[in-house]
Symmetry: C2
Subunit: 175 residues, 2 copies
């Protein structure tokens, strides 16, 4: 399963592509950060992000897209831009006909570090270790995006196993 | 000048198209509300809005798009969805190669009623009067979108006059 993870942001939007299966070490396919300048026009910033993400989805051909969910309790000054960037990120997957899943920051942290309150350094360290990278991915926005992709692979696997078990149980009871 | 105004929202997104010039009564070309269900998947909601707005821009062929700006001090429960819808609205104009302008709610209210603190009923009443409509446009989201388009026409005119005056002054001083 190849997943494109997105850590939405208007100034820096992290993108990480991971291939893997639940319970096995994943493989990092690529990562990047899409940037735009805060003094640029909002319509041009959103358009640049939209085009860049569409190109990345076309280039990496993921089977699904995972996006970090934004909460209003975040920094009020930047939260609106982050929410807008998240809409562009979700659209990038939806427009390509891919399933899009969102995860809370604590779900992502818990998936890769075992703790929902881990800091950025811990997330970067675990991403580096889990994917057996020679050096930590930089900047941190890219590491977060990779962590989101890993979270989706593992959680997706859990969900797939639960669905398979439910299906098997339903088959047994209908015999 | 034909303007497509958008009052962004995820559950109800108002769209109003007005043709006019600064200082003259405008003409209502059309209006609608794009809806999606709160229990639907966020990616499908954003995709529906994206496609609907792209179709409306293609159908009405506006020369510019005006979108109401979202603030984080709004209702915290709905503000994230409104911010996401605003990104889709801004993109609808940008992707069509149109200039996109955003206005604060008080700029819009002041433009049509003379008061930045007017309520929805006053905005609807003034939109009905200004455009000489037989009946007020419904629902209120549509009236707000029409008000945003009127605001853009008038403000655009003000800006155009200021630019023209500045240009004329520059020409005089360079003689």
């Amino acid at each position: 399963m190849r997943v494109l993870g997105i850590d939405p942001g208007l100034t820096r939007c992290g993108v990480g592509v991971v291939e893997g299966m639940p319970g096995r070490p994943g493989k990092l396919i690529g990562y990047t950060v899409v940037r735009s300048e805060p003094d640029e026009d909002i319509s041009q910033r959103l358009l640049h992000l939209d085009r860049s993400l569409a190109e990345l989805v076309a280039a990496y051909q993921p089977e699904s897209v995972a996006v970090e969910r934004v909460f209003s309790q975040h920094n009020a000054r930047t939260v609106m831009g982050t929410a807008q960037a998240s809409a562009v990120a979700i659209l990038a997957g939806a427009r390509a006909g891919l399933p899009v899943q969102t995860y809370t920051p604590s779900e992502v942290k818990a998936a890769v570090t075992g703790s929902g309150t881990a800091d950025k350094a811990q997330v970067t360290a675990m991403v580096t270790k889990l994917l057996k990278l020679d050096a930590p991915p930089k900047p941190a926005d890219a590491a977060d995006a990779i962590a989101i992709a890993i979270c989706h692979i593992w959680r997706g696997g859990t969900r797939a196993r639960i669905q398979a078990a439910a299906l098997a149980a339903a088959r047994r009871s209908s015999r």
